[in-house]
Symmetry: C2
Subunit: 356 residues, 2 copies
């Protein structure tokens, strides 16, 4: 039976309608063919990208040559440009307001090998990726005129990736994007009313709910109550901290493990594998916030957004989060190394177990 | 050069970055193949759908048999269900709030022929379609427990259509979707501050701007200043009216003509043709609102939404609205019947002509 669910942080409703998966389709869903062109992100093709601004390199290798593990380069086709700070707005009246697109748009190339997913990297390689993310945030904190950083990964053509080779993108802007602003506002309202961080409360309740997916020493993964997408999964640090860049070395090691396992389970459930992975974190210049809690959202491209989503900001999700979490837990239990950590539940809809 | 633009109604920024269209792609964009299964919407296959609740029929034909021009049927895979009104919420605490999915989900099958676009119907057929839309709104106004109606059309697999045969969908809900709520709130704030309807102001300025596309006696089409999608086009009635269902017979005839012409131009620009068409209208039970103005938004599936869009509510649009409008005007001028109505501009960025 369909159900209308309200997000606890922002004023956003979703319809969970598990009958919608049975709909007939005129169009086949097939993996996209690769065009087979030269990959600008592969080792040896460094000249195809702008010069690197950061890298993890073998001793003795030269910048913008081979011998690297991770490269950070400016986006060759940037959505925003550094250096426009202080220019006057191009339009500024009651109906038209525009600003120069000041900002930073970078690409983090996460492996010299032509692979497409974090699940194809070793745990140690994912640790290097997360350390690189942290370093970029630290550097952007002292960059003039920036308020927000969006760090995201588009995996798979169905999720909007234009290149197959594993990479993430980072867009830093002089303003707070509207969804992030709504999330901050909703979290603050919750804190003002209850004296508690809404995400800390979620950690306590979701980890022992039928929506729990995996609990490690330092992170918790669950399918959120008002999931917009089938198999949507959030990963929260167990420690309350508002800014991603305050992640500790121990937390990075733990998150590398959790990310690989959870993504592997999502890639088993969503075929062909396609998702957006988004880091949600507090604004750059803000002090530590007691009402906000950084986290990762994995948003599978399970059902295409259409008129209802774009017209109303209202999502129809064909998979109950409780069902999605159960499937993800089952996949995790079949993976020997993660068996101990998965949140096991014999009766998904009733039994509530403490965290391992 | 990229530009950051702010929507005049809701607090939503977009990045216009016309350099992004040159990006390399690993994945080919190919039209999806049809699965070739039986079409449940074709004439003769009426038993494949639930029983019709409204239709335009040839004299002497029987309901749910052949001999129709338009059929309205309940969605066989509904996202919401009538009859759940008054049931208690399934969840109701600080973190989880859910309500039974009370509402109406209908499909409007707009031709007995297996065509996919309004541009393949005659003007008289589109008039029948618009009259049917109006009638559904009138009927839903007296339906208990409903606040909003979302009327939308998904055209093309890339825009989320699951069936090719021409149809629209209507979802009526007990609450106002978040985007609609933000739009109403923004429009009211504009009215409170200026004493004027923000959409009436747009009509005056956009029709003579480089973003104007087509002006008829009763409707105006333009590419909005802060377009989220390439070739995004809005159609507004020249007369201030908040509720779509108050459209007059004369306006329906005019809109049928404008819709066909504008959609034809969009289908020439966006290949393969794919878009969402969404009716924006005031809440069902509201009196006429002086601050709100119903309109149609055509949202082409030109660039796929990805992590940035889903994570931040922030769109990157690779086509400047001024450029999009110029292309659409040029297509319209090549169409003999619409030549007189297109907003012609020799110097798109400077000359401002009065409406024809």
């Amino acid at each position: 039976m369909p159900e209308l669910r309200k997000d606890p942080v922002i004023d956003r409703w979703v319809i969970i309608a598990d009958n919608r998966g049975e709909r007939p389709r005129d169009f086949e869903i097939a993996p996209r063919r690769s065009t087979g062109r030269l990959c600008p992100f592969c080792e040896g093709n460094e000249r195809e990208t702008p010069n690197e601004v950061q890298s993890v390199r073998d001793p003795g290798s030269s910048p913008n040559g081979p011998g690297w593990k991770i490269r950070v380069v400016p986006n060759k086709f940037p959505a925003v440009c550094d250096g426009d700070l202080g220019k006057p707005p191009a339009y500024d009246d009651a109906l038209c307001h525009a600003e120069p697109a000041h900002g930073v748009h970078e690409v983090i190339i996460e492996s010299p090998r032509h692979v497409s997913s974090l699940t194809q990297l070793t745990k140690d390689e994912v640790v290097l990726v997360l350390q690189t993310y942290r370093r970029r945030f630290e550097i952007l904190e002292s960059h003039p005129g920036l308020s927000s950083v969006m760090l995201f990964k588009n995996m798979g053509a169905e999720a909007g990736a234009s290149l197959e080779h594993i990479h993430s993108q980072l867009i830093a802007l002089p303003m707070i994007p509207s969804l992030q602003a709504a999330e901050l506002q909703g979290a603050k309202a919750h804190f003002d009313a209850s004296g508690r961080c809404v995400f800390c409360r979620m950690l306590l309740s979701e980890s022992v709910s039928p929506r729990g997916v995996l609990g490690s020493e330092r992170f918790t993964a669950f399918c959120p109550f008002a999931s917009r997408f089938g198999y949507e999964t959030w990963i929260l640090p167990n420690r309350h901290v508002s800014h991603f860049q305050r992640i500790t070395d121990d937390e990075i090691v733990d998150l590398a493990d959790v990310l690989r396992k959870v993504l592997k389970a999502v890639e088993t459930a969503v075929l062909p594998p396609a998702y957006n992975l988004v880091f949600h974190t507090a604004p750059l210049g803000d002090p530590p916030l007691e009402y906000y809690h950084w986290h990762v959202e994995i948003l599978p491209a399970f059902a295409k957004a259409a008129g209802f989503e774009w017209g109303g900001g209202f999502h129809i999700n064909p998979v109950y989060p409780e069902q999605a979490a159960q499937e993800l837990r089952q996949t995790l239990e079949k993976t020997p190394e993660s068996k101990d950590e998965s949140i096991r539940q014999t009766e998904a809809n009733s039994e509530r177990l403490p965290m391992p």
